[in-house]
Symmetry: C2
Subunit: 423 residues, 2 copies
């Protein structure tokens, strides 16, 4: 037989999108965060949406059993939001959980079983100490082949990728710093971001504090000086430093999906799901090259084919910058830049908000924050706002971009979901 249909039997649009703030919220549980995102999404539906019209909940969540001692999260959230008895399913694909949940939501509508579904993501990560979180996240890698045998954590795994990249292409750690500087600049414009200060602002505030406490004046001339300083930006896993790593965050995100044929009841400005791809891969050691993820390339191929577009057509992208190197490698695997040129592109400002190919206008995982289960859907929230021209101070200079792409990664590249939206 010859399989490979890959065409939706029914077109799907996004009719609403919302999120909680991302950050550290000691008094908020998953329930609280989910409800904030859900209400934000419901309120964003132009013509209103009755909860009774929602026919399914797809919830991306990585590890609530470990972080909160609560599994079976999907029906709990449905019940909490007054959505029971609708079918509610938790999707887990590590940090790609809500990207994968989005794909399931799209297929649920295309299958004819539902007209309107909600896709959400949530993660409450800050209840346990940081080393516990790092150990919990390591469960997304291969316990047998990566964690037990090789001793990998995620900073370690992406340190290896960064090391290989710098060696292969002659790039420097300063290229990585450029990603952090750019994404913090964007995050400073995002009211929902975990970090809402540019690195320059942080530098100035730190210098001021030092002056007040009588310490010698630092020699920092600019952000790059600041990031080169071991005291403020210590090594985590060479060549990755603290500012190369996304933070540990609490947060939730939510999308309202509808069949195109009923969407006019909800909005006159839907955002269309043009293409979606998902791929899986083996452990890091099975990659053909440490500087390019097979799963990302395959997921991108599927999404571009389905959408009938190429990388050239994409006006903005949210990519999975769990570490700065991940953004650079992703922009190459997605076809935006040739291999080895992603680092140059960020240094030249091509991926800045006013560049030719804006990447992570939300601030990315790096500055917006990375509540892992919420990240994939949150990327799509940003695209939805940009495509509808509602991104406020972050709005792209080129008003209302047409095509947006989200790339959501899980594990050491074991899962990748790529989604292409069209205005």
């Amino acid at each position: 037989m010859k399989t490979g249909a890959r065409r939706l039997a029914r077109n799907v649009v996004i009719a609403g999108a919302g999120a909680s703030c991302f950050g550290v919220f000691p008094k908020k549980t998953s329930r609280d965060l989910f409800l904030e995102a859900f209400l934000d999404a419901i309120r964003s539906v132009d013509k209103g949406l009755q909860p009774a019209d929602i026919e399914g909940l797809y919830l991306g969540n990585f590890a609530s059993e470990v972080f909160e001692g609560q599994s079976h999260l999907a029906p709990l959230m449905a019940d909490w939001a007054g959505l029971a008895p609708i079918p509610s399913v938790r999707i887990e694909d590590a940090c790609a959980s809500s990207g994968a949940a989005f794909r399931q939501g799209v297929m649920a509508i295309a299958s004819g079983m539902c007209d309107v579904v909600v896709v959400a993501g949530v993660e409450k990560m800050t209840r346990m100490p940081t080393d516990g979180v790092t150990a919990a996240l390591a469960m997304a890698a291969d316990d047998v082949f990566e964690v037990q045998q090789a001793g990998l954590t995620f900073p370690g795994a992406f340190g290896i990728i960064a090391s290989a990249y710098l060696h292969r292409y002659g790039a420097s750690p300063e290229h990585l710093m450029r990603v952090a500087i750019k994404n913090h600049q964007n995050g400073a414009l995002n009211p929902r971001a975990h970090f809402r200060a540019t690195i320059r602002d942080t530098m100035k505030a730190r210098a001021e504090r030092m002056a007040q406490s009588g310490e010698p004046e630092p020699s920092w001339q600019d952000e790059m000086d600041f990031l080169r300083d071991d005291r403020v930006n210590p090594l985590v896993a060479w060549p990755l430093r603290l500012y190369d790593c996304s933070p540990i965050s609490d947060g939730a995100s939510c999308l309202v999906l509808a069949a195109e044929d009923v969407a006019s009841d909800l909005t006159d400005h839907p955002v269309h799901v043009a293409g979606i791809g998902q791929a899986s891969g083996g452990p890091l050691a099975s990659w053909d090259s440490l500087t390019s993820s097979p799963a990302v390339r395959e997921a991108a191929r599927q999404a571009y084919t389905m959408a009938g577009v190429t990388a050239e057509d994409i006006d903005l992208a949210e990519v999975h910058d769990c570490f700065t190197i991940a953004e650079i490698v992703a922009t190459e695997d997605l076809g935006f830049f040739a291999p080895g040129e992603g680092a140059l592109a960020v240094a030249e400002g091509m991926t800045a908000r006013d560049g030719a190919r804006p990447v992570n206008t939300s601030g990315g995982l790096k500055a917006k924050g990375h509540p892992v289960g919420a990240t994939g859907a949150a990327q799509i929230v940003e695209l939805w706002e940009q495509i509808r021209g509602q991104a406020g101070p972050r709005q792209l200079p080129k008003q209302k971009p047409r095509y947006g792409l989200a790339q959501n990664l899980g594990g050491t590249g074991s899962t990748c979901v790529v989604t292409i939206l069209k205005g």
Copy 2:
């Protein structure tokens, strides 16, 4: 707007089904168990199936992060079986995880995105001590409203349901014992079952051991005497005793799903997915009655409506007997028997293999075993074998039944999936 499509855009069949043995396997990991079930399912496809034709993996798993320290299980299994780079997704809905995964697999095909997908379930539970497993399972209940405040474990929750049932309908603990006796009789005929002995056999073996060690001869005349004996059947949570509880098992199950329009390449004897329903509900305290689950009734309503049949048409059913009382209540909520009459039905032999309404011919969770993530798909494996007349010594006297129903429960009734298959 008025939502509620609930019709598949494309019909789906089951072209293959398999499972590992269920039991306690100290040397087997999730990978080993999954691969056994996957190969068993692939080999069951009449005309053969090339792994390259498989376009997606839906993996039901409850808590591998807790049981094995390994999350992100779906791409690991795909890679282990040589299926990468296909999209692979882990579905978690507690003990209904692979029932819910089956529904996602059906929708993936109906959506037009795939022609052939694999749905599997796996759980490796026996690596930790029993009290750890009970605590892990309790994470499927509501941590805030059931576990922390009410101190519920699952034996406790189903003890409450059983207690309410006995009080309301004047039934006795002996009705519950009848469920255990029947399901062990069926399990004794199932080569994959965790327990492959009837309770009568177990009784005789125990009496023999007692005689050999010089203990006084027990007064047991039959299985009921045996189960009334506190020494062999101690109370767990009144009125539930040891033999009212399903065991803690390792195991995996697997199904090959195909679009009806391509299925003739795989088999001339497909089993059709006639109806499928899923519902969610709040904690136990929110049920309108402790003796009837709203989520089960709603999921059944959806499945019957979609299949265009009623309870009368169902020739056999696999129901979620995590505890004996759960089988009795399920047979009422599914409409097989009037409220309060499920206990009488089992006592009268109506749900026996040769009865008017056979229930749990596989041995059920009670005797076949309950590796929680594998259970929902394993129920469907049993229906597939019975409907195709391949259940060996368990085959129903009425050869090749036409309609089979599976009911898979998660948490304290927070999730229920009901699937109706047609020969």
